[in-house]
Point group: C2
Chain length 228, copies 2
């Protein structure tokens, strides 16, 4: 069954008693998604919560002028948007979600997941913690963008991506996400050209390099130096 597979993909559901797992499985709808697919847009009514079984989902907000800020990229095993849980009827999503790497997602109605959470506080606590981490991240990013300049924000973003998507190897930490300079800039509001210039600095100092589309950080500590 598709949906039995789903429960196994999402590790934090593991501690659930079999009975609840069964129940959950019946509540979700699983489907494949392709790069570029839009799961929801900012201001749509928030009725559905998503689990990522596979692939990568970009959570972002954009301005009428076409500029975009990426709040997060969710990967297998993660849930989004937790922020919509337990919100009032008619609350809207506060960001958009689109697929950046094809995969599979499972969808559940907000109210259904809420009732499961109330039956199983351990899960509720897990989601609470997840949201607390997002809040910390968002506030840290804000601090960087507001207090340190663009280079500080770039360094912060690279460190963060190393944590979430880093793969340690003999050269350092490789970020397992295909990213252009423009993509990087959209994490903190810098233009492609600015990112290019800043990355050249980092490259010349031997801190970062790029090979076939993936960035590798050679000196994580030097990056942290830029942050404070």
């Amino acid at each position: 069954m598709e949906n039995v597979q789903f429960v196994d993909n999402i590790s934090f559901l593991e501690p659930l008693p079999d009975e609840l797992k069964e129940k959950l499985s019946k509540m979700v709808l699983t489907k494949n998604v392709a790069k570029g697919d839009v799961l929801f847009q900012e201001n749509d009514i928030a009725e559905t919560i998503f689990f990522v079984n596979n692939g990568k989902i970009k959570i972002s907000k954009s301005s009428p002028g076409g500029k975009e800020i990426v709040l997060d990229i969710r990967k297998a095993g993660e849930i989004f948007p937790e922020v919509a849980l337990f919100s009032k009827e008619e609350t809207t999503y506060s960001a958009s979600a689109s697929v950046v790497e094809f995969g599979s997602i499972s969808m559940i109605r907000k109210a259904d997941l809420e009732s499961i959470l109330l039956q199983y506080p351990e899960l509720f606590i897990f989601i609470f913690r997840t949201m607390a981490e997002r809040l910390r991240l968002s506030q840290n990013t804000l601090q960087n963008v507001a207090l340190y300049g663009k280079i500080g924000s770039l360094a912060f973003t690279l460190v963060r991506l190393c944590q979430d998507y880093g793969e340690v190897n003999e050269h350092g930490i490789t970020i397992r996400l295909k990213l252009t300079h423009e993509d990087l800039g959209s994490f903190f509001g810098a233009t492609r050209e600015s990112v290019t210039r800043m990355m050249n600095q980092l490259k010349n100092r031997g801190i970062v390099s790029k090979e076939n589309g993936y960035f590798t950080v050679h000196e994580l500590d030097s990056l942290k130096f830029y942050i404070d």
Copy 2:
């Protein structure tokens, strides 16, 4: 009793059954605080959660260079830092808290409040919602700082302060918080001089004015125009 008073001050505790209220009252310590008092610093071990009975508490992060970013100002009836609840042992506060308007606060051990929350899911949901709102706010601020310039951020900050601290009167909405230009700038990372120049623009256009230390917004819609 001090602590019976405390429970009445915090409106979201109201739906609690008397028995739990009683229990809570025994767990909290209430004390008066004066302007400038520091309740905790970033990186202190997070063991205590606070309720504001009275007064205003500033939640902020600062840089080694002495610059500061204000994440929020909490007022009577609010709780902080929710983000620390259910965190692992030894987790530290991610921001500092200091008193900007004297008043009274009640303190409770993190673990004690957690156990109450688990016994009373309605409260847990309330806190969850509060945190979701903070996350939205933080992400919106980030969007503003990164995508719209400083004027956009200033406008956003004024709108936000109107919502949280606004008092509607014949002239418009007066923000019931004593704020200097420097204070305003610290919400989004601008210097005093920049805020002065931008505020002059807004003043000349009749959008905002300041009388004995309090800002009044005359045209909220014009401000929103700066945001998008």
